[in-house]
């Protein structure tokens, strides 16, 4: 077993453990904090995969913005957070069954696929993923349309969210 495999296994177990805590913890602030550690684990996975840009963006966007937003939202809807009633709905066993079946099905499908044991080629020297990404994102032959549409999507989300949550008619 090489060093890289050990790093991967440690990170994967840490991430999955945190992910399990996210879906089972009763205290929602704790669930959000466990989400942060899951997301950090995923960021480390990107780093292991040499996707440096994705790794930092994961930390900046998910931990720096989305997790903060979750914590704010939990604190704004505080009454139910301390509700000590069951945090799982009555069909939770069905959800668990479906999740296990999904995992089993995916595992079964992956088993029969030939590309599975593929190993990665070395990254060519002097290859700058970020510059390449910049090239692709603005060249008309590649992904300029998704790039601009993403901007429109986010502005639409902003407008919608602001309108829904803080409609002046609904009180404050």
């Amino acid at each position: 077993m090489t060093g890289e495999q050990i790093v991967f296994l440690v990170v994967a177990l840490f991430t999955l453990g945190s992910g399990f805590m996210v879906v089972t913890t009763r205290n929602l602030v704790h669930a959000a904090l466990w989400l942060v550690s899951t997301l950090f684990g995923v960021a480390v996975t990107y780093a292991v995969l040499d996707a440096a840009f994705l790794a930092v963006v994961q930390v900046v966007v998910y931990i720096g913005a989305i997790a903060i937003l979750f914590i704010f939202a939990v604190m704004l809807t505080r009454k139910d957070v301390r509700d000590q009633g069951p945090q799982m709905n009555k069909n939770w066993w069905f959800g668990a069954l479906l999740a296990v079946m999904t995992f089993g099905g995916l595992y079964f499908l992956l088993q029969g696929w030939s590309g599975l044991s593929k190993t990665a080629a070395a990254i060519p020297a002097g290859f700058d993923a970020v510059a390449e990404l910049g090239n692709e994102l603005v060249s008309p032959a590649a992904y300029v349309l998704p790039f601009e549409v993403a901007s429109v999507l986010l502005v639409a989300a902003l407008v919608g969210a602001v309108y829904v949550a803080f409609n002046p008619r609904s009180g404050k």
């Binding site: 060093g3 602030v29 704790h30 904090l33 942060v36 440096a52 840009f53 930092v56 963006v57 930390v59 900046v60 931990i63 720096g64 913005a65 997790a67 903060i68 914590i71 704010f72 604190m75 700058d128 993923a129 970020v130 510059a131």
Partner: protein
């Protein structure tokens, strides 16, 4: 002689020889050497941090026409060590009802978020931690961890003041992150890379001459990110007692305090790297890496001193004014500056260097002037709406 030119490599090679001589595999030896180097750097930083306490207290004393610490040791130099001994042997109380695990993790994360920033600081052409090609974003990523530590501290303390302070501080930090990100784009455009060492190498002309307005906005956003006056909403002694760290005592409080000081110094360093040429000073860095380190530390101290100067001169701003300042003035200004710089960069791409520099400089000045004019006319209109036009007052006499 070679140690004088490239101390890091010489030391690493020597250590590699020693470790492999003990029968260690080369990979493990390299990681161990990296670990020792990181440990050395961070230890030096912590010692520096101790002296930052002394410097900060001396400087604030001078600003307030006092002497500052002068009893323990010459010029009070031993004072910070006495403070540390006190912090260590002080009883560490945990408030009842606190969320113990989160409460204990928060100060560690706060300190860590500052220390990891030094991974990307190039101290000299040959002495740098890691030359990540996403350096500028790494700076923001470390800040995200700091933001998280504040909200964890505020929430887990089970104290109203702490939670309100944390919320305010986080709102301010995240808001000012937008102009900061935008201003990080400008050195990135000039250098064509996000890596800190590339940004320094490309700075034949300091970027502060190309984009003075960007340097000013970055400084403002950095001060807000640090949570220092005039943006110290979290502390707000008169309203919130001490903000998010109110329930912390002993060494855990010390971590927040030392982290804040080191953070300020680190941002002084980043200001120097991004806009003032980093370790470069008229070819001095070519003479010896040690001189390069001296140059960058000196520049970082100047940046730190400016941050202190602002802190002890200005008053705290009310939170609504502060957020309005960010979203209604600084963010639009930052985005317009970014658009102007990108456009000028494309238009002047083939121009001679003097035209490029003066064009950039003048466009920055023009943007700043226009922004201030608009702000002035808007604020005049606001004032007239509240007070009524000037003439009416005189007629009423």
């Amino acid at each position: 002689m070679s140690f004088w030119n490239d101390p890091l490599k010489v030391a690493a090679d020597w250590l590699l020889g020693v470790f492999t001589g003990w029968g260690m595999p080369e990979m493990a030896a390299n990681i161990l050497i990296g670990f020792l180097g990181v440990l050395l750097l961070i230890t030096v930083l912590m010692v520096l941090d101790i002296f930052l306490v002394w410097i900060e207290r001396k400087v604030v004393a001078r600003f307030q026409d006092r002497l500052g610490p002068n009893r323990v040791g010459p010029f009070g130099l031993i004072q910070p060590f006495a403070d540390i001994i006190k912090l260590i042997i002080k009883e560490d109380t945990t408030p009842g009802g606190a969320d113990k695990v989160v409460y204990n993790i928060a100060p560690m994360l706060s300190m860590m978020s500052v220390l990891i920033l030094w991974a990307i600081v190039p101290l000299a052409p040959t002495i740098l931690g890691v030359d990540l090609n996403i350096g500028a974003l790494y700076l923001i990523a470390a800040g995200a961890i700091g933001t998280l530590s504040i909200i964890m501290a505020g929430w887990s303390s089970n104290n109203k003041f702490a939670l309100i302070g944390a919320f305010r501080q986080v709102a301010v930090m995240v808001s000012f992150e937008v102009p900061m990100l935008t201003m990080l784009l400008i050195p990135t455009i000039f250098a064509g890379s996000m890596g800190m060492s590339t940004i320094i190498e490309k700075q034949d002309v300091w970027y502060v001459f190309l984009a003075p307005l960007a340097a000013v906005i970055f400084l403002i956003a950095a001060i807000a990110e640090l949570g220092r006056a005039p943006f110290d909403m979290a502390e707000g002694e008169s309203e919130l007692v001490s903000g998010f760290n109110i329930e912390y005592s002993g060494m855990k409080f010390g971590m927040f305090y030392a982290g804040e000081l080191l953070h300020a110094f680190t941002f002084g360093g980043f200001l120097a790297i991004l806009f003032f040429g980093g370790y470069r000073f008229f070819g001095l860095e070519q003479v010896s890496p040690f001189l390069a380190i001296a140059v960058i530390v000196f520049k970082a101290f100047i940046g730190y001193w400016i941050i202190m100067w602002v802190k002890y001169t200005l008053l705290r701003i009310r939170i609504d004014h502060m957020l309005a300042f960010n979203w209604k003035f600084l963010t639009p200004l930052a985005f317009s500056l970014l658009m102007v710089v990108a456009l000028m960069n494309a238009l002047l791409a083939n121009a001679p260097i003097w035209l490029y520099i003066s064009g950039m400089f003048l466009s920055n000045v023009a943007v700043a002037w226009a922004a201030l004019e608009i702000a002035r006319s808007v604020s005049r209109r606001e004032r007239e709406k509240v007070e009524g036009p000037k003439q009416v007052v005189e007629v009423g006499h």
